[in-house]
């Protein structure tokens, strides 16, 4: 029978380091990132710089994916995944994915060192100027370079609000270059977008003759794809964090809320839905871990693992958020109750880095199940 070989087993558990990392980050977020504050980001522009500094510098988490030779922590994708789990759990409005993953991996893949040092120390924050919905196989730069500088428009870019470094993919006819722009700069117009998920603010960027430095040596396209692949490998961990918050919060509510003289969690239809949701969330966690571990080890199965996780985890997190809203009913429809933060984050995360069906399509090539 014509079936595929089985890859070697990955380490799907959490190490002691990872568990400690999680605990310290969760303490910080419990303290510094309460839902009321996060919600206020829908009405006014949040100043997340203090929180980001605490995470990036005090806990040193901006340095996770940076090589030790550049001042990095010598950790890797597994630890970054744990960070994202916790940031998802708190719907935290900090640019970890955009700076510490996307920009960092792009820089380290092309062998850049100076900016990386500043990212590692927390002196700088960077953003990779691609639409948040860009998938690893879907890079199409919209910026061109000439003597006057960079010109073009890039929409829905995440993580620019605290960034002083912008990494811009530039089309040069037959290839892609990567340019660095130091912010603020003449010729760079940043327009905040109204986003479905305001806990990850988006910006539409217009460049008109912006000064830049080319920082790649011909390997920009591969580096940007690598950055997107890493982000795609780790976003499922954030989705797992979102789904876990929804599951735990709903469970707690179901045990406390009474209607018809019983806790509503004692109704069997609700119980079965929660049991099924728990199964989905459990699988989400396992697949997110598998994707992070294979990426960390540069395993041959990495791309399959990413496609599987992307196909499963985004939908699972949306399901968890939607069930959270429905089983809370009215209260979750209100602005005060934090459920909507997670619904919006889950839905936006489902679209971030490309929708699930794209990954299934890519997966079908990887596992030899062509569409026709």
């Amino acid at each position: 029978m014509n079936t595929l070989p089985t890859p070697p087993a990955a380490d799907l558990l959490y190490s002691e380091t990872e568990t400690e990392l999680r605990a310290s980050l969760r303490r910080l977020l419990d303290d510094r990132c309460p839902p009321e504050w996060v919600v206020s980001g829908y009405d006014t522009t949040l100043d997340a710089s203090g929180l980001w500094k605490a995470i990036a510098v005090d806990l040193g988490l901006a340095a996770i994916l940076i090589p030790e030779s550049c001042g990095g922590a010598g950790l890797g994708a597994r630890e970054a995944a744990v960070v994202l789990e916790e940031l998802g759990r708190a719907a935290a409005p900090v640019p970890f994915l955009s700076s510490a993953v996307l920009a960092t991996v792009a820089l380290s893949t092309i062998g850049e060192r100076e900016t990386l040092r500043r990212l590692a120390s927390g002196d700088s924050t960077a953003a990779l100027a691609v639409p948040l919905s860009t998938s690893p196989d879907d890079l199409t730069p919209t910026v061109s370079a000439d003597d006057t500088g960079l010109t073009g428009r890039i929409t829905t870019v995440a993580g620019t609000e605290l960034a002083d470094v912008l990494l811009v993919p530039v089309s040069d006819g037959d290839g892609v270059q990567l340019h660095q722009v130091t912010l603020p700069a003449d010729g760079v117009t940043m327009t905040p977008a109204t986003a479905l998920d305001m806990t990850r603010p988006l910006t539409d960027i217009t460049l008109s003759g912006a000064a830049s430095t080319r920082i790649d040596s011909g390997d920009a396209e591969a580096a940007i794809r690598q950055a997107l692949l890493c982000a795609a490998a780790l976003l499922p961990s954030e989705q797992y964090g979102v789904a876990s918050w929804c599951l735990d919060t709903t469970l707690a509510y179901l045990k406390q809320r009474r209607q018809f003289g019983r806790t509503i969690g004692s109704f069997q239809a609700v119980k079965h839905r929660m049991a099924n949701l728990w199964l989905q969330v459990g699988q989400t966690g396992a697949l997110a871990r598998y994707a992070a571990d294979t990426y960390a080890r540069r395993d041959l199965d990495t791309e399959i693992a990413v496609c599987v996780a992307q196909s499963f985890c985004g939908d699972a997190a949306v399901l968890a958020a939607e069930e959270c809203v429905q089983l809370h009913a009215g209260i979750a429809m209100t602005w005060e109750y934090p459920a909507h933060l997670y619904l919006k984050r889950a839905k936006a995360d489902q679209l971030a880095l490309g929708a699930a069906h794209r990954y299934r399509n890519r997966l079908s090539q990887l596992v030899d199940l062509p569409s026709h």
Binding site: Y42, D43, P131, L132, S133, T155, T156, A193, T194, A195, L196, D197, M198, L202, R258, Q259, F260, G261, R262, F267, A269, V270, V318, E322, V325, Q326, A329, G330, I331, A332, M333, T334, W335, E336, A339, H340, L343, K344, K347, A348, Q350, L351, A352, G354, A355, A356, H357, R358, R360, N361, S371
Partner: protein, 396 residues
């Protein structure tokens, strides 16, 4: 049929008389609606003298069509939906002669816009758990409590109110139903903002609100029965007919047609399934209307809302996935108080979020599935422990 044959000319003549005596072009709308009420043409199924003629409800269409043709002021069914659709039938069913005489006409003239003070934070699906108290004080009742999910409270003159008059009785037995003046100084209305950013609804805080006993509808302790009548009138309005590609599916179909760049083969079968589901709901709704018109009690009615909500949620979620980058945006988070709700209006992000309410408001899908299982399919009810215990002794 012979009924119809004699009724229709009679109705036509009555409308003609009304229009002759109250020229729509020159009569004040409020006055015209009063005349409409007095002529028994406001709701022909209501009793004579109370805005109606005691006719089957289907004849209203004829009246409405002729009024519309004459460009006459119509009843403000959207603006005062709770008054016209819920309070009025309840007053007809349970009001004293005096209440019917004084309360009905201002509803139809639009002098009294109503809101509904039923749901509470601790009484959602379990409406009979309302805790708002009504304490008798001479000829008055003193009402204290908090209500939620009150649409239109900030524009309402009057309210229908469900309150607990006797906490020593079991939960269903200790309720009494009132009409309440929203201009009482003890009534405080606060906007209740939703996840869409808007505040369609309100919270209403009642502090020593004084309601005269003459505004009690039904007997003391009969509140649950009266409220059930009100809610049955609410259900009728939901799930009415939609055209092909009406609602959410029409928005997505148009998006698919107009935006080839967003199409992807991996989304196509799912799109078609959603289209088929929407069409299945449309055809099922059409059959239900035929069954009702034919006098067959179509039990599918209870389920249409469940299906509608499910489809709206799935389709609006699909819409965002289809759009990719475009789905990451939202139109406006500003806190607003919309005059009316348009589920399919505004942008896809709003539609997605607002649709989440479809399976909650007006009876959660879970409660409706219970209703189908128990009342339509005859499956045994859940064991209940809260029915025979004094309300004040229930575990909280």
């Amino acid at each position: 049929m012979s009924d119809t044959e004699s009724i229709e000319p009679d109705l036509t003549a009555r409308v003609a008389t009304l229009l002759r005596d109250h020229d729509p072009a020159t009569t004040d709308p409020q006055e015209f609606r009063g005349a409409l009420f007095d002529a028994g043409l406001a709701r022909v199924d209501f009793p004579p003298g109370l805005g109606g003629l005691g006719l089957p409800q289907r004849f209203q269409k004829l009246v409405d069509a002729r009024l519309e043709a004459a460009d006459a002021p119509m009843l403000l069914r959207e603006h005062n939906g709770i008054g016209l659709g819920m309070a009025a039938p309840t007053i007809v069913a349970f009001g004293t002669d005096e209440q019917r005489r004084t309360l009905l006409r201002p509803i139809f003239t639009n002098e009294h816009v109503y809101c509904q003070l039923f749901s509470e934070p601790e009484a959602g699906s379990d409406l009979a758990a309302v805790a708002t108290s009504a304490r008798r004080d001479g000829d008055e009742w003193i009402v204290n409590g908090q209500k939620v999910w009150t649409s239109g409270a900030h524009n309402a003159d009057m309210a229908i109110l469900l309150a607990r008059s006797d906490p020593d009785l079991p939960k269903h037995a200790g309720l009494t139903y009132f009409v309440c003046d929203m201009r009482d100084p003890g009534v405080e209305v606060r906007p209740l903002r939703q996840l869409t950013g808007e505040a369609e609804f309100n919270e209403v805080f009642l502090t020593d609100v004084r309601v005269p006993d003459s505004l009690r509808l039904g007997e003391i302790g009969q509140g649950w029965k009266v409220a059930t009548t009100t809610l049955n009138n609410e259900r009728v309005a939901i799930g009415s007919g939609a055209p092909r590609e009406g609602g959410m599916i029409g928005r997505v179909a148009a998006t698919w047609r107009d935006n080839p760049q967003w199409r992807h083969p991996g989304m196509h079968d799912r799109l078609m399934r959603l289209w088929v589901d929407a069409e299945a709901i449309r055809i099922t709704g059409e059959r239900l209307r035929q069954q009702l018109a034919n006098g067959q009690p179509g039990p599918e009615g209870s389920g249409m809302k469940v299906l509608f909500a499910r489809s709206a949620q799935e389709v609006s979620g699909f819409d965002l996935e289809l759009r990719g980058e475009d789905g990451l945006r939202y139109d406006d988070w500003t806190m607003r108080r919309p005059d009316k709700v348009d589920y399919t209006g505004r942008e896809p992000g709003y539609r997605y979020l607002r649709a989440k309410g479809n399976s909650i408001e007006g009876g959660t899908s879970e409660i409706l599935l219970n209703v189908i299982a128990e009342r339509v399919l005859g499956l045994a009810p859940e064991p209940r422990a809260d029915k025979d215990i004094a309300w004040k002794d229930l575990p909280r």
